[in-house]
């Protein structure tokens, strides 16, 4: 589903990713671990097409198509979703309205019928239960006055509503208490199936304990230096990263 080959990329002329290779197949959940500054978030920004990030060489393919020339919204419409590390506040824009606009944009892209307000409310109330969110958050502005945990739940709510093929979870576990972490992990786990893939970016093992990734990769200085299964996460927890550094 996602195929990254020899990716060199950075920002402001500074190279951050230095020859990264990663392949994620349908149905797999991959985790990327690494210190701050190792290039984890850069990778997420490159895949989603954020402005100002430059790719100097290498390819990123999604379902066989090169996506590097695609606009961020087209990548999203093709099925790439990112749960933001710092979800953005959009004052004045109603959360429900925003979500429906996003869903309808996707439905339209797929040449499907757009959903009306009443049907959407029914749909969203179902999804809301899955992330144990209070209905009051629907009538607020997007992420406005949300606690850290509610913002992250709102991201997962969006994921469950938009049903992307590839979900990138950028430090979705940061700033969460144990309950919120459990709810979010559950939300993701229930959403997993043989068609959907995930890329979880994290510092900590605790999210991985809940999500049980198929593969764990260690990112150091813009390259994946080691890949493995759950046991690798435990090893990292015990020994840190230094034993992997050259």
């Amino acid at each position: 589903m996602l195929e990254i080959k020899n990716l060199h990329a950075g920002i402001d002329g500074k190279e951050i990713l230095k020859g990264l290779d990663l392949t994620i197949k349908a149905g797999e959940l991959h985790a990327i671990m690494g210190r701050n500054g190792s290039g984890k978030s850069t990778l997420a920004n490159i895949i989603t097409g954020r402005e100002n990030y430059e790719v100097t060489s290498g390819t990123v393919k999604f379902n066989g198509n090169n996506i590097l020339d695609m606009s961020p919204e087209n990548r999203a419409l093709e099925g790439i979703f990112m749960s933001f590390q710092y979800p953005v506040v959009i004052p004045g824009v109603n959360n429900t309205y925003f979500l429906r606009a996003a869903l309808n944009s996707k439905l339209k892209h797929n040449e499907l019928k757009e959903v009306n307000a009443a049907d959407f409310m029914r749909l969203i109330r179902e999804k809301l239960k899955l992330v144990e969110m209070d209905e009051k958050y629907l009538s607020r502005a997007v992420n406005d006055g949300f606690s850290g945990g509610e913002k992250k739940k709102n991201e997962i709510l969006q994921m469950l509503t938009l049903e992307p093929q590839l979900s990138i979870l950028d430090e979705t576990d940061s700033g969460l208490d144990i309950d919120a972490l459990r709810i979010i992990a559950q939300g993701v786990n229930n959403f997993r199936n043989s068609e959907r893939s995930f890329l979880a970016i994290t510092h900590y093992q605790r999210l991985l304990d809940h999500m049980k990734p198929d593969f764990i990769h260690v990112l150091i200085d813009g390259k994946i230096v080691k890949s493995g299964g759950m046991s690798l996460a435990q090893e990292l927890e015990e020994k840190g990263y230094s034993w992997l550094e050259a």
């Binding site: 999203a76 959009i90 824009v93 944009s105």
Partner: protein
């Protein structure tokens, strides 16, 4: 070049939709201003002596006054002698019905989306159309007459209702009020007049469309609305102008009088030509004095304005809250895109007991636009238990624009309750990327964010015009993001 910048460039190239000129035989007097010009205007309108005297007195006062320089507006001096103070479409003969209005004129209004033929008219909206210096037609007159409502051009009102005009003209905005009000008093050519008798709820929205067409001509109209006891009226004005390289002056005066238990709702959708988006050349200089007095107890005056046009906007619709328990409201959306500058706000003068005012101002700056909110709240000594709530929000789009807020507060009675909130935000790259990442295009994201920002004000517009305002905002803004 980033994608967002490309979208801006595309949008900036978007042309002003109403920039056409009407090729019509015009009667225009030579540029320049002196007493003879004023006498000429007055005689063209066949005015009574008292009105000519009033004009000449205003002119004398204007000569002694200085152009105000306290605003944040930056522009080269206006040469008042290079402006023509009167332009009118030449009537083929005297008009007695709409059928006799020049088809060119009807066509102009049709292009503007304002059909004047009654059968095609907007449901339940009466329209007075002002073309350069004169009112061309007023619709629904008879229907309104049944209710005793007078809605006509100012010139007609001078002829047919001289006593009302004499009583109220200059009663809210005296000729000495300010430089541009004095100028208007001397040279005003036409405008609209509304009179709502006691206990009457005006059965439809009243609306005036102002159109500047002639080159090198100033437009100076006056509007007077009088609402007698326990009456109610909702009034809307719209404005457009052709694209021209020279700046054109628009200096209007609006006076509102609300008697006991009366309510006046005055809405403006201002879309004068804003000037060339790339060079800043041309565009309307909009210097307007709007004020209403809540004369009677429990009366209410509410201003709503959506200001998207003009090169310069200098405008402070105000309320004098004389009557006890009277209410003043000001809801404003002001947009400055490209080279536009707006210095706008309100004044709320609390005189009566338990008077209440609300100010909601939303400023949007994009391109190189500069947007200033300037508002004054004055609580006089006698105003026991006066209350004011002010909220001034600004939103910035791009790196080169500016937003400024100047609240003036003067409280002379200790029982007053004042609340003031202000915020400035920016449509950030992060917000746009967030929307993009959810499959929403940048243009849709900007319009979603701006409409969310303006919602409180749009909600105040009469239904028929709220959608129009929203669309206008989209056109004026589309892709102005960097």
């Amino acid at each position: 070049m980033s994608k967002n910048t490309q979208i801006i460039d595309k949008a900036i190239e978007k042309e002003y939709e109403y920039g056409f000129t009407t090729d019509i035989e015009q009667e225009t007097i030579a540029p320049g201003l002196n007493k003879d010009v004023i006498r000429l205007i007055s005689s063209k309108k066949d005015e009574p002596q008292w009105l000519l005297d009033w004009r000449l007195k205003a002119y004398d006062q204007w000569l002694k006054m200085d152009e105000p320089d306290w605003s944040k507006l930056n522009f080269s001096q206006i040469d008042f002698q290079s402006i023509s103070y009167y332009a009118a479409p030449k009537p083929k003969k005297k008009l007695s019905s709409l059928d006799e209005v020049d088809p060119e004129l009807l066509d102009t209004y049709k292009k503007l989306g304002i059909p004047l033929e009654e059968q095609k008219m907007l449901a339940n909206v009466a329209v007075d159309a002002v073309f350069d210096s004169v009112s061309v037609t007023t619709t629904f007159k008879e229907e309104l007459q049944k209710h005793g409502v007078i809605f006509c051009s100012f010139s007609e009102a001078v002829k047919n209702h001289p006593n009302i005009i004499k009583k109220y003209l200059g009663s809210v905005v005296p000729t000495t009020d300010n430089y541009f009000a004095a100028l208007n008093s001397a040279v005003f050519s036409d405008g609209s007049f509304v009179y709502i008798p006691k206990n009457v709820r005006c059965p439809m929205e009243l609306s005036t469309y102002f159109r500047i067409n002639a080159a090198n001509t100033g437009q100076f109209e006056r509007t007077l609305i009088v609402a007698e006891e326990q009456s109610h009226v909702s009034y809307l004005e719209g404005c457009t102008a052709p694209m021209r390289d020279e700046n054109q002056l628009h200096a209007a005066v609006v006076e509102l009088v609300a008697h006991k238990d009366a309510e006046i709702k005055y809405s403006t959708v201002q879309n004068w030509y804003p000037g060339n988006p790339k060079t800043g050349k041309g565009g309307i200089y909009n210097f307007v004095t709007k004020r209403g007095t809540c004369v009677g107890d429990n009366s209410k005056i509410s201003w709503t304005q959506v200001e998207t046009g003009s090169a310069l906007t200098w405008k402070y619709p105000s309320c004098i809250l004389k009557g006890d328990n009277s209410v003043g409201e000001f809801y404003s959306v002001a947009l400055s895109n490209n080279f536009q500058q707006a210095d706008t706000g309100t004044k709320m003068i609390h005189i009566g007991k338990n008077t209440k005012s609300t100010i909601i101002s939303k400023g949007i700056s994009a391109g190189k636009g500069q947007n200033t909110y300037r508002g004054g709240v004055k609580i006089m000594k006698a105003a026991e238990n006066a209350r004011n709530y002010s909220q001034c929000d600004s939103i910035l789009i791009g790196e080169e624009c500016g937003a400024h807020t100047f609240p003036y507060i003067d409280v002379r009675n200790p029982s007053a309750q004042m609340e003031h909130e202000a915020s400035t935000s920016r449509i950030g790259e992060d917000q746009l990327f967030y929307c993009n990442q959810r499959g929403i295009s940048t243009e849709d994201a900007v319009s979603m964010i701006v409409n969310g920002f303006c919602k409180e004000v749009f909600n105040e517009l009469p239904m028929e015009f709220a959608v129009e305002a929203q669309k206008l905002m989209e056109v004026s803004l589309e892709g102005s993001v960097g």
